[in-house]
Subunit: 342 residues, 2 copies
Amino acid sequence: MTVHDPGASVARSKPSRPTMRDVADAAGVGVMTVSRVINGAVGVRPSTAERVREAITRLGYQLNHAASTLRRRHHGSMVIALLVDDIANPFYAALAGAVEEEAREHGFTVLFGSAKEDLQRERELVQAFTARRVDGLIAVPTDTEMWRDALTSVTVVFVDRPANGLPVDSVLVDGRSAAERGVRHLLEHGHTRIGYLGDLASIWTAQQRLQGYRDALGEAFDPELVQQGLRDAASAERAARELLGSARPPTALFAANDLITIGAVRAVAECGEGTAVVGFDDIVLADRLSPPLTVLAQDPVEIGTTAARLLFARLDGDDTPRREVVLPATLVVRGSGESRPE
Amino acid sequence: MTVHDPGASVARSKPSRPTMRDVADAAGVGVMTVSRVINGAVGVRPSTAERVREAITRLGYQLNHAASTLRRRHHGSMVIALLVDDIANPFYAALAGAVEEEAREHGFTVLFGSAKEDLQRERELVQAFTARRVDGLIAVPTDTEMWRDALTSVTVVFVDRPANGLPVDSVLVDGRSAAERGVRHLLEHGHTRIGYLGDLASIWTAQQRLQGYRDALGEAFDPELVQQGLRDAASAERAARELLGSARPPTALFAANDLITIGAVRAVAECGEGTAVVGFDDIVLADRLSPPLTVLAQDPVEIGTTAARLLFARLDGDDTPRREVVLPATLVVRGSGESRPE
DNA sequence: CTGAAAGCGCTAACAG
DNA sequence: CTGTTAGCGCTTTCAG
C-alpha cells in the first residue's frame, strides 16, 4: 500500500476543473448569467453579479478559453505565434521581447518556436501554430513557398526575409547597403584584402550582405577570401583562423552576423593581431573589447515592434495593400575597423 | 468603389476554414471516418483512408486542436508555458531555447511571457496560461503565494526560486555558495573593500547572493559598500560609479548578475582603472575584455533542460515526492578578479 | 470496418 | 435583468 503525503507529494491527476455549470449551480443562477459576469457584466444586477463572483473565487473557477472561442466565431484565439531561427540568439531574444510587449498591450499571448534553418521543423511549427488557431504569425521564413497555404488561414508578417510576391507584410533591414558601407569603411582605411565570413548561402540576409561586400569591392573581389555556411561562433572562428593562416592572409575581416563576429574576434585575438574587424549586429560590451568593435548595428527591438504593429493593424481590420518596411543598420565606429594594414 | 487586387492586397477576413464535416462530405464518408484517419487510421479500409486524405489536402483541411481537446478529457492541450523575468535577457533566452528543445521532443508547443518582476503582470500571465489550459508551466515565480491556486489546475516547475513548501519541483542554483566563493576569491587577492552591486532585495536569488557576500566578508562587511535595486546595466553603471567616486572607494566589485556586470565593467573602465571585478553569470566574449572577466558561470541551458525534464516526467505520470535540484555556478578565473589592490 | 447520436464548455440568439 | 435552446468542431460511445 502506498501512502501519499499531500503536502510533500506533487499533485497528480489534476481534479477536473470546475465548469461554468458548477459556478452557476453554486450561485443559484443560470450559466448565461455566469458568462455575462465573466465577460464584463452588462445587464446583470449587482447583487447577482456579486454572488456569482463569490462562487467563482470559492470554486477557483477559470474560464476555458478554448471552449469559449470555439463558439464565438469572429473572436479569435487571442494568441499570436513567433517563429524565429533560434530564440537563444540574443538578437532574436530582443526581438521576441519587443513582440511580447506589443502583444501584451493588445491582450494577446505569444507562442514561439525556433526553426533552426530546418525546413521540416519550420513546417511542423507552422502546422502546430495553425492547428492551435493562432490569430497571427510573425515569422523569419526559411522557405517562402511553403507559406502559401498558411496564409489562407492566418495573418502573417515576415521578418528578415522578403515576401517574394506573397500577400504578406514584411519588415526588412537593408543589409546590402549596410554591408557595402561597412566594407567601404575598411577600404577607406587602406585595406584591400578583406575576408568575408558569412552564414548559409541559402539565407536571404546572408546573400544580401555578401552582395554588399561584392558591391563595395568591385573588381577587387576575390572568392578565395569568402567563407560561408557558418552557423555558430565556433565554426566562424575556425573559418577565420583558416583565412588568417593562409599564404596571403586578409588584413581585415567582415563578419556577417553576431555569432560570426564573436568567432572572428576570437580568431583575430589569438592569431591575427592587428587584423581589422567590422561585424554585422551589435554585441553587448562591444565598446569594451580591445580594440572596441566597429559594427553595423540593427535594432532588434525596433524590428520586433514594427512587425507586431503591422500584424495587429491587420488584425484590427487594416486591409490596405501589403507593406514592406525597410529599416537601416547603422555603422558604429569604435576602433576595430579603423586600424590600417601594416 | 474599391478595387481589390488579390495579388497585392493582404488577405483579410480569412474565409472560415473547412471543418471535418466538409472533408467527410467531400470524401463521401462520415465524420468519424475522417477523425479516425487523422488520428492514425486504425481500422479504416486503405482505399477509404486514401480518399479521405485526398479530400483533406484538396480542401486544405487542418484539425482544430482546441475543439479536439475539448472533447477528449484526458488528452491535454499539448502546450506548456514558460514564464521568465525577461525573455530579452540572454540568460533567459538560452534557458528558453533549452526548454523549447525538450518540449519539441515531446511534441509540445511553448507559450512564453515576461513578468518583469511585476506581480500584476505575473498574475495576468498565469491567468492567460491557465485559461488556455496549458498542461505544464515552467516559471521564475515572483510571488510564491499567488501560485497556490494555479497549482490545482496545472503542473508547475519553479526555476531560480524555491518552492517555499508548495508541492512543486524546482531547479535552483546555489547562488549563496557561488557568491561566497567569488568574494573569497577577491579576498584571497588582497582586497578588503569589496563593493556589492545587486538586483532588487525582494528577489530570492539576489538575497542568496548578498548572503554569500556577507558570509565571505564576515566582520569586514560594510553596508556602505552595498548597492541594491539595480534592474539594468545603466542603473548598475551609475551605482558602480557612485561607489568608485566615494571618499574611500572599494578596490573590487562584486556584480550579482549579467546585466549588473555589464554596468560594472563600464564604470570600472571609465572611472575605476584597476578595480577588480567578479561577475555573476557568464557574458559573451567575457574572455576578450580587458582585463578578461572573472565570473561565476551558471548554465542556463542545463537549468532549462532540467526543468523541462522534471515537468515532462510529471506529465508522463511520475508522482514521486517533489524534487529540488540544485545546480552549481562555477568560478571561471580570467583576470579581472585577480588584480591586487595598490 | 463504418456511421449516428451525444456531449465537451462555452456563447449567440432568443425568449420571458 | 435572467434563463433556455441550439450548436461551435471535434471525439466518445454504441449500434450496425
